[in-house]
Symmetry: C2
Subunit: 155 residues, 2 copies
DNA sequence: ATAAATTTAATTTTACACAATTAAACATTA
DNA sequence: TAATGTTTAATTGTGTAAAATTAAATTTAT
């Protein structure tokens, strides 16, 4: 008797720890792969343009100028990430950086002509990428809705 | 005449360039937010444990040992990322690194006792995180399916 | 107005992430 | 087996990412 392989009465559920059962991993991997897929398109605009820099441009194309804080709120990035990134964009003459005269603590990032002219050639990027994904409009909307939900719950 | 505001006959479609209309940004933001949400849980296991290191442990808890190449294939990370990460994990005595005697080019990463004992306390992490998300099982499955599709198309 | 608390951007530190290159080891083929 | 080509991990260089700290400016309360 008692030769049964002892099922460890309080057996831990390790199955939730398998990579395939995680949500975070596919999110993490899909994000990196999609960012990587952007690269050749961004390189065409400028060999130095990175994806996070492109996100800054997307915002500035809409608003012309924003504070570092506003950029961070929109992109969910902090100044420790944005400051060096914006300094590189300043060197490329894509943006200007200056203190807000009404509040010397804030730095206003402004869109410069060299950054502005990148907008038109960037127009073809979204369509090009969507073609890679081979995803229906409906599923795309579902995906975006679910991702927005995740962001909302975690922010 | 010709005082009309010249509607630029070939008006570019800038609306696709708005941040809110992008797929990549929510993916990018959701990934970072979810990784950030993992932090307090991982800190409880060990203050030095990072999310990518946790992913390596998830694989080693399943397979005990894998080559760097196999880890990279599973995580979609290259050796330039994994090598320094694995060296840090080696210093923590979580994993061992040794050449494959049958193929001296390959480095085999093995799970050490100090890495193994982290598995049991890690079991509660997935449930804790899912609670944050407030997402139904069905929607979670949909999200994972769509993310897997994205990964598949881009890899 | 002045001290204290708060806000904000910058700085510092650590850790990914990946393209490009290098170098070593292995495999193939003549 | 010797030359060639391939595979693989490591290295190098650049660019995020984010927590923690610092410092300056502003606001608030006295």
């Amino acid at each position: 008797m008692a030769q049964a392989p002892e099922p460890t009465t309080s057996e831990e559920d390790f199955s939730l720890l398998k990579l395939e059962n995680q949500l975070c991993f596919p999110l993490y991997a899909a994000s990196r792969q999609l960012t990587k897929a952007y690269q050749p398109y961004l390189r065409e605009l400028d060999p130095d343009l990175t994806y996070p820099q492109y996100l800054v441009l997307l915002l500035l194309w809409e608003h012309q100028e924003m504070t570092v804080k506003e950029l961070g709120e929109n992109l969910l990035l902090d100044s420790g990430t944005l400051t060096p990134l914006l300094k590189r964009m300043e060197q490329k003459q894509w943006v200007s950086r200056r203190r807000d005269p009404r509040d010397e603590r804030s730095v206003i990032i402004g869109l410069l002509p060299a950054g502005e002219v990148l907008q038109k050639p960037a127009c073809s990027i979204p369509k090009g990428l969507l073609a890679h994904l081979e995803i229906s409009t409906k599923e795309l909307a579902t995906l975006r809705r679910l991702l927005d939900h995740v962001i909302k719950k975690l922010t």
